[in-house]
């Protein structure tokens, strides 16, 4: 049964309990594809939930919106579908699976089922791994520019990169969180940060 057929049958079934055991088995197999019902094209619903959870741990909702509020998952799905090459997409999805494997090993649960503290612990571990890889690059490369070299083969680095890009370039992230203006009121080469911040919240 192909995806289109499965979706069609699902849509026409009055209720799930009326569906045949055969259909239900097929649907379980097609779970990644059923995820597209959320409008996503690469992430299945579980992967989507994991991505959303990690993104929201990085940038939670405070007095301004968080990563989930601005739909970071949709941007990540777009990149996975249309921007990453196969190798990168696989690395990212493998990385997501690895997050669950870590959670499973540590607490016998999937990442999204873990407590915030358990999740945070996994994030810290992944961060440590990312820094190690960055340092390795720093040692071997001829020269780099910017604060740190980019371990862009590391899942956590990829995830952070996409999360921050999606959040801070979103309408809410740029204007509400960072207070950026396309056309500044009063351009100033050497302004007081405090005063500028206060002027904006006034």
């Amino acid at each position: 049964m192909d995806r289109r057929e499965a979706l069609q049958q699902l849509a026409t079934a009055i209720a799930l309990q009326m569906a045949s055991p055969h259909l239900l088995a097929a649907l379980r197999e097609l779970r990644p594809l059923i995820g597209t019902q959320t409008g996503l094209r690469t992430l299945n619903s579980h992967q989507d939930a994991t991505v959303t959870a990690i993104a929201d741990l990085i940038i939670p909702r405070t007095e301004t919106p968080g990563a989930a509020d601005v739909g970071v998952n949709r941007f990540i799905d777009l990149i996975l579908t249309e921007w990453y090459i196969d190798e990168e997409r696989n690395r990212f999805l493998d990385g997501l699976a690895d997050v669950d494997a870590r959670a499973q090993a540590a607490s016998g649960k999937k990442f999204v089922e873990c407590s915030v503290d358990e999740q945070a612990e996994i994030m810290v571990t992944m961060g440590g791994q990312m820094i190690k890889e960055a340092e390795a690059i720093r040692k071997t490369s001829r020269g780099y520019r910017g604060s740190l070299p980019k371990p862009d083969k590391n899942f956590y680095y990829m995830m952070r990169s996409l999360t921050l890009t999606a959040y801070y370039t979103s309408e809410q992230g740029a204007s509400k969180e960072l207070g950026l203006e396309i056309i500044p009121d009063h351009p100033d080469a050497c302004a007081s940060w405090q005063e500028a911040r206060e002027a904006k919240t006034r």
Binding site: E82, M130, S147, I183, P184, P187, C190
Partner: protein, 562 residues
């Protein structure tokens, strides 16, 4: 199809120099046809400088697969981004070739305005240090002009385009007629002061001299600091031909601007030894048209103008029109870049910049002025500047959560960069020719580019890195990272020299007024005319040469000499 109209002048190209030729020739009374290979540009529709990242599909990460497919070369240029990619050519439609292992990056714009829409806007006068260098060092040939010949034309161009900058009175970098300068930010002032103190006038840091208005000028508004000029400017605050020269030409009522007109070749009458017009391929219908003109100005860029002349070969002139010297296509130069350093400037943590200044710093040439550098001749200048790091720094950090979010809201460190741009020596062995095996999407034979850096350029690039680090040390910078990148020729997008000026028709293509030695009514005023490269950005000089050549051409026409 033939048209009976004979234009007083035909200008090929509508960019930096084509716009100037159009303006000057029409203002002097000439009925002028301006031919542009690319499409028309309507600022209200095509400019996208105020479109936020949230409204472009990949949020500034670019449409990667489409770019790899259609613009693998163009997208190497920083300005060819998700907003401005439309101002760069499709590489599949516009191929060129190189030898294996000898890359040349040819960044091109085919639309009304050409590359003047996306240029870097830095403008610097040449000095006699530049004009006399070839003669003094016995390299290439001597320039047929000196600073005094061009100075009034620099004035003329600057008065129209509007240049902001700081007067310094340096002999190696004559001052322009400046509008008020843009401001250095706090970290740049720290570096400027440290350089002044430690290098005692030998090295100077100043604000970039830029063709961006700091007050209203000639009916155009002052810059509003939105930042990305290369996406267009609805207030016309930076100079481009679309923003300034073409509207001026239009106002005369004497310009006919024809987009989608790919000039294949110049037609030539062997009896009169004069050009008679141009053959054009209509980019949309692919039909061939002929236009007649009394004088032809090639302003299509150093490489495109030469390509047209090669494609104008006749059985008699088998190596191209205006090429009795054999120098056409040779002596190709660019500016070498890729050497510099970046660092963190401590202090001023409570200060930020508001707005996006579309300009950086400049350090004028300081090598081989009064002392002699052991490793190379001529010199380089630095562009660059400081900014406070933004949220991008957070990607490679490990933090997350409320505290991390709070931290990202605060500006990061002041990061400063020096990026060197160095003079390239003219060499006969760096050249372009027609590739007989390949044509573009319109069937026009393409160029094969042969260009490599020489030892002098490579030694200079190394020094850019060292000298930049020295200044950062003097400024008390932290985390100083010198770099030497392997940028190939062409990447500064300052290609020039392929139809050089000179006094002797045996060794040069053009005379001292950009007039072809071999064809009196043919002028080339783009980068092709350059005899040497200096280390400063060349557009201002191209524009001044164009205005000067137009003045001469009209005088000669009046005398009946063309």
């Amino acid at each position: 199809m033939k048209t009976e109209t004979v234009y007083d002048a035909i200008v090929v190209g509508s960019g930096m120099t084509g716009g100037w030729a159009a303006k000057e020739l029409t203002e002097k009374g000439l009925k002028t046809l301006v031919l542009e290979a690319g499409r028309a540009i309507e600022p209200e529709r095509d400019y996208v400088e105020h479109v936020p990242a949230s409204e472009v599909k990949f949020r500034g990460m670019r449409d990667r697969s489409r770019m790899q497919e259609n613009q693998p070369i163009q997208s190497l240029c920083y300005a060819c981004d998700e907003w401005s990619a439309k101002f760069f050519v499709n590489d599949k439609e516009n191929p060129y070739t190189t030898e294996p292992g000898k890359p040349f990056r040819w960044i091109r714009g085919r639309q009304v305005g050409g590359r003047s829409i996306v240029w870097g806007r830095q403008v610097y006068r040449w000095s006699d240090l530049d004009f006399e260098a070839n003669l003094r060092q016995g390299i290439g040939i001597d320039w047929p002009i000196r600073y005094a010949d061009l100075a009034p034309w620099y004035d003329h161009v600057e008065d129209f385009i509007g240049i902001s900058g700081e007067a310094l009175g340096l002999p190696q970098l004559p001052d322009s007629r400046f509008l008020p300068p843009m401001q250095l930010n706090c970290a740049e002032k720290v570096v400027r002061d440290a350089i002044a103190k430690n290098f005692r006038g030998e090295r100077v840091l100043t604000i970039g001299r830029t063709a961006v208005l700091t007050r209203p000028h000639g009916g155009r508004a002052a810059c509003h600091y939105c930042g990305p000029c290369e996406r267009g400017c609805i207030t016309r605050s930076y100079f481009s031909s679309v923003n300034a020269t073409l509207p001026a030409a239009q106002m005369t009522g004497r310009m006919t601007l024809r987009p989608n007109s790919i000039v294949h070749s110049v037609t030539f009458d062997p009896g009169t030894r004069r050009a008679t017009g141009v053959l054009v391929i209509d980019a949309k219908t692919r039909t061939t048209l002929e236009f007649k003109g009394k004088v032809i100005f090639l302003c299509a860029s150093a490489l495109e103008s030469v390509r047209i002349l090669f494609n104008s070969s006749t059985p008699e002139l088998s190596n191209g029109l205006a090429n009795s010297s054999g120098e056409l296509g040779h002596n190709l130069m660019d500016h070498i870049k890729g050497g510099g350093a970046t660092a963190v400037i401590p202090g001023n943590e409570d200060r930020i910049t508001i707005g996006r200044r579309p300009n950086g710093i400049y350090v004028p040439r300081f090598r081989n002025l009064t002392t002699k550098h052991p490793g190379f001749i001529r010199g380089y200048g630095y562009e660059g500047g400081a900014h406070r790091e933004g949220w991008e720094r957070g990607v490679s950090q490990t933090g997350f959560g409320v505290e991390f979010k709070k931290l990202m809201r605060q500006p990061g460190q002041w990061r400063f960069s020096f990026l060197g741009y160095g003079e390239c020596l003219p060499k006969h062995a760096n050249y372009v020719e027609l590739d007989k095996e390949k044509v573009d999407a319109w069937g026009v034979p393409v160029l094969k580019v042969h260009c490599v850096w020489g030892g002098n350029e490579l030694a200079m690039r190394k020094d850019m890195s060292i000298a930049a680090a020295e200044m950062l040390v003097a400024a008390g910078a932290r985390d100083i990272q010198p770099f030497i990148d392997d940028d190939p020729p062409g990447f500064s997008v300052h290609e020039m020299g392929t139809a050089r000026m000179g006094r002797d028709p045996k060794t040069s293509v053009l005379n001292s007024y950009n007039q072809a030695h071999d064809v009196k009514n043919l002028f080339i005023t783009d980068g092709g005319a350059m005899v040497s490269a200096s280390c400063v950005n060349p557009s201002l000089t191209y524009m001044a040469l164009t205005a000067r050549a137009c003045d001469y051409a009209v005088q000669q026409m009046k005398k009946g000499e063309l």
